[in-house]
């Protein structure tokens, strides 16, 4: 009873905090640039992010990783900047800058003392409109990207295993190739390809600008207009509307790699918020992942890592925010002496339990409590707030999504969680990769 009271209170308080974020403004320039402004006046700092709706899923065969390659070139030559100028300017004004490329977007950020906002915007506008690609700089940067690939993937057998698993997880989609690209493609990039990619996708109407921190709407609007309003409104290429894909059929992969410890990857093709027939499916899958792996008291950790001690580590997560379909993923490392087959059976057994017996109301409350308090904790970081706004918007979702979180999670019934496991975590939606050390049982000749 006392616990129940506390949970109701938690949900009330956390929801209040979570659904009352600092003021956020949303406007669009005539050339199509969408601008989001999050006011957070705690500290005199500002984060500026420019997100482009182009990522590795947009790349054709033979050009994999081109979005990421272009991201590197955005720190080199522009009409007014030679290599090194951009970094030196950001440094001189105490800024931090970097960029990120993923399946669905390419993003650039600068963080500064709030008084530097005009500079940050002017630099982003320059890169949006005036990139130049020097052939010699380009070929040097290809070498850097190859080093990056060696470092992140080629010399890390777990990353290699993941790359190969990802290749069967969403067959026939742009999610099946690595964001950084295949080595043979990276080696053959030309400056012309990068320039064409830039001209095709880097336009105001294909971008979202996020300004977060100690800034008012008036300041943000005036400075945005000043540097971006005059940029031409280039057309954005058409994209197919995402639709839920049919089940691909079960896929299995057996890998022998120079790993020291075996591991198991399982993934299911499930709808995302964008492709779900009903948004309730998305929230039910979120809850399902939380019941399995929402902390130390959740089922995987309680039953498999601690209870039966079949795994030294295991987890489940739902990637339900995407431009196309989502994925539900479980990964695990067996405890010494436990076979991958036994581990897979144990994970499937946990799912079976959920398919036949709905979780308890207490479990769902605990998951909800954690999700709501997390959304309060996440407001601590201005950068994190900017990431959330930019990410949701660039994948086509409403940045106010968190406002609904409390009610949406409260609406999920135990039966819906069970149904989600039954409907979506089926064999014909599943991909499995078993990863074994070289020279162990299962090694291929």
């Amino acid at each position: 009873m006392r616990l129940f009271l506390m949970l109701s209170l938690l949900c009330a308080t956390a929801a209040q905090a979570a659904t009352a974020p600092p003021p956020t403004h949303d406007f669009t320039l005539d050339n199509g640039l969408r601008v989001l402004v999050r006011e957070d006046h705690r500290a005199p700092v500002v984060t500026v992010m420019l997100w482009y709706k182009v990522g590795s899923i947009d790349e054709p065969a033979g050009r994999t990783g081109l979005s990421h390659m272009l991201e590197h070139m955005m720190f080199k030559n522009t009409r007014h900047l030679t290599p090194g100028d951009y970094s030196a300017l950001v440094s001189r004004f105490g800024g931090q800058t970097n960029a990120f490329t993923s399946y669905e977007y390419t993003g650039y950020y600068q963080q500064y003392d709030a008084s530097r906002l005009p500079l940050a915007l002017e630099l982003e506008a320059e890169r949006l409109a005036n990139l130049e690609i020097d052939a010699e700089e380009f070929s040097r940067e290809v070498q850097v990207v190859l080093e990056e690939r060696r470092q992140r993937t080629d010399d890390n057998p777990s990353a290699l295993a993941w790359e190969r698993f990802a290749a069967i997880l969403r067959p026939g989609t742009g999610y099946a190739h690595p964001v950084i690209g295949w080595q043979r493609d990276i080696e053959q990039y030309t400056p012309q390809q990068a320039m064409a990619w830039y001209q095709e996708w880097y336009s105001p109407a294909n971008a979202v600008l996020v300004i977060a921190g100690d800034v008012t709407l008036e300041q943000a609007r005036a400075q945005t207009e000043r540097f971006f309003a005059a940029l031409p409104a280039d057309p954005v290429p058409d994209r197919p509307t995402p639709r839920q894909a049919p089940a691909a059929g079960e896929r299995r992969l057996s890998l022998s790699l120079p790993v020291q410890v075996p591991s198991l990857y399982m993934g299911w093709n499930v709808p995302s918020l964008a492709t779900a027939d009903n948004a309730a499916d998305y929230y039910a899958l979120m809850m399902l992942a939380g019941v399995l792996d929402g902390g130390y008291s959740a089922r995987i950790e309680s039953n498999l890592v601690r209870g039966r001690q079949l795994a030294t580590g295991a987890g489940a997560q739902y990637g339900g925010l995407a431009r196309e379909d989502g994925v539900f993923i479980m990964t695990a490392s067996p405890a010494p002496g436990v076979s991958l087959a036994a581990l897979e059976a144990a994970l499937e057994q946990e799912l079976d339990t959920l398919r036949t017996t709905p979780p308890s109301a207490e479990e769902l409350k605990r998951v909800r409590a954690q999700m709501l308090s997390s959304s309060v904790f996440e407001q601590d970081s201005v950068f994190g707030q900017a990431m959330e706004l930019g990410y949701l918007t660039i994948i086509g979702q409403d940045w106010r999504l968190a406002d609904q979180l409390d009610q949406r999670l409260a609406d999920v019934t135990p039966q819906q969680v069970s149904d989600a496991a039954k409907r979506f975590l089926t064999r014909d939606r599943r991909a499995v990769a078993e990863v074994r050390p070289l020279n162990q049982e299962g090694t291929q000749p």
Partner: protein, 478 residues
């Protein structure tokens, strides 16, 4: 809206006028400044703009049981961080590498008769998170909770039980050791962790900082619950603890909470000081053979300890040479100008009894020799010549301009408070250090580097298929 439209039209008109102007004008008739709009236009205004300043009111006191407390009230987000920092890192492991790490990790695995599941449910029902970690100097516990008393107080009550009566149950310890041994196995798959272990062993030798914090395959199996209990009673004491509180909390509540946490701990004094770590006095090279496509290299030497008066000059110098961003010398020369690496960085790690300087890089095997020779040359040049006035100015502008970013979030603030408390720094330390950085001269940077870093006594440790110290005659480019 209409105002913005007008503004935009004015800008468009200005740009259009500028274009026409350029086309119809003969360049030689123009003063350069009139011909090309200066870029960036915003430069004068951001140069003149006063920097913002977040006034942090750090309050500090000592609890009845002897814990140092640092507190900052921040009201905007309904959350609280409570961090406890103990002088209980792996430097206190003695002959049992991994003991400090296991003690720290086992605190929430059973306490006061509650088993691990009950403790986990207790925090998670409240939406609270308890985090722990252990390093060479410090061991930390951090509770993040909503600040409303209905959640805060029961979460703190659970934390108090953990601090007061950890049970160190044997079954959970056995499981945790298995997990840790497997983590060590996993580290052998990749070059990085093996390299840093070897580097620390070579750099610190028998000094307590040479102990591998995560334990070893030899040391972990022998560690028993009773040893954890002894370690806890010796080092997780009120006198050896710093309590940092940041969040939506009154001072009265902060005082009460600090007393509650502090009085839960065993009584005891601060851990004794560690002996200073000595620098290596001759160049040493060590190579580990590993079938990777890149060769990873660490080079450096022991420089100073945390409190050395040359620290500000070395800090500024390190930033210019290889700290952080793309304009640093190493990044510019090795990556930007030659494409040899994805990343190359230098760092100074200011610890209680040491402050090693370390350069790290990773490069394709065929380039490893050239990259190493170049890196050594860049270090030697920097020690010999120091920074130019221009490099110094850029670094100092960067440091003063980025100061506001260092206390932007509650999590940044609690980290700063932990460091100030742990290393006994004055409450004005962040401001003092900023000022010291601004006053450093190029001559002082040069002098400090010459005193503390000798290019002919560098330790080089590498991992990859071939020793990069040897010219790669047999290596054909891929």
């Amino acid at each position: 809206m209409s105002l913005n439209k007008i503004l935009r039209l004015v800008i468009i008109a200005a740009v259009a006028a500028g274009l026409v102007w350029l086309i119809i004008s003969r360049p030689e008739q123009l003063a350069p400044s009139a011909a090309v709009a200066p870029f960036p236009q915003s430069l004068p205004e951001v140069e003149e703009a006063p920097l913002g300043r977040r006034q942090l009111d750090i309050q500090s006191w000592t609890t009845a049981a002897g814990s140092r407390v640092l507190f900052v009230q921040t009201e905007q987000i309904p959350m609280l961080y409570a961090r406890l920092v103990f002088n209980a890192g792996s430097a206190r492991d003695g002959d049992h590498a991994g003991l400090a790490m296991l003690t720290n990790a086992m605190l929430d695995q059973g306490a006061d008769g509650l088993d691990v599941a009950a403790l986990a449910r207790g925090f998670e029902d409240l939406g609270a998170r308890l985090g722990n970690s252990s390093h060479r100097d410090m061991a930390l516990l951090t509770l993040a909770t909503l600040s409303a008393p209905e959640f805060r107080d029961p979460a703190l009550a659970l934390l108090t039980r953990i601090l007061a009566r950890p049970d160190f149950p044997a079954g959970e310890l056995a499981r945790m050791k298995t997990q840790q041994l497997q983590a060590l196995q996993r580290q052998k798959q990749v070059p990085g962790p093996q390299l840093s272990d070897a580097y620390n062993r070579a750099l610190f030798g028998d000094h307590p900082y040479g102990i591998p914090s995560n334990g070893t395959e030899q040391s972990l199996p022998g560690i028993e619950p009773a040893q954890l209990a002894v370690f806890y009673r010796q080092y997780y004491t009120a006198g050896n603890a710093v309590i940092a509180l940041v969040g939506d909390l009154s001072k009265t509540d902060a005082k009460r909470i600090a007393e509650q946490l502090s009085s839960a701990l065993p009584t005891g004094e601060r851990a004794p000081e560690l002996p200073p770590a000595a620098a290596l006095t001759e160049a040493r090279q060590q190579h580990i053979e590993f079938p990777s496509t890149q060769t990873h290299i660490l080079l450096g030497n022991q420089m100073i300890d945390r409190h050395h008066p040359d620290y500000p000059a070395l800090y500024v110098g390190n930033k210019i040479l290889g700290g952080g961003d793309f304009s640093a010398i190493l990044m510019d020369e090795v990556r930007q100008k030659r494409g040899l690496v994805y990343g190359i960085y230098s760092s100074i790690s200011p610890m209680a009894a040491a402050g090693p300087f370390t350069v790290s890089l990773q490069t394709a095997n065929a380039n490893a020799h050239d990259a190493l020779v170049l890196t050594r040359q860049l270090i030697a040049d920097f020690v010999a010549n120091g920074p130019s006035e221009e490099q110094l100015k850029l670094a100092q502008d960067d440091l003063v301009g980025s100061y506001a970013l260092s206390t932007a979030s509650n999590s940044d603030i609690v980290a700063q408070l932990g460091v100030i408390g742990f290393y006994d720094l004055p409450l004005s330390y962040m401001d003092d250090f900023q000022q010291a950085l601004q006053q450093v001269t190029a001559e002082q940077v040069r002098g400090a580097f010459r005193r503390h870093l000798h290019p002919d006594t560098l330790l080089t440790v590498s991992i990859g298929p071939h020793d990069p110290n040897q010219a790669a005659a047999e290596d054909s480019a891929p």
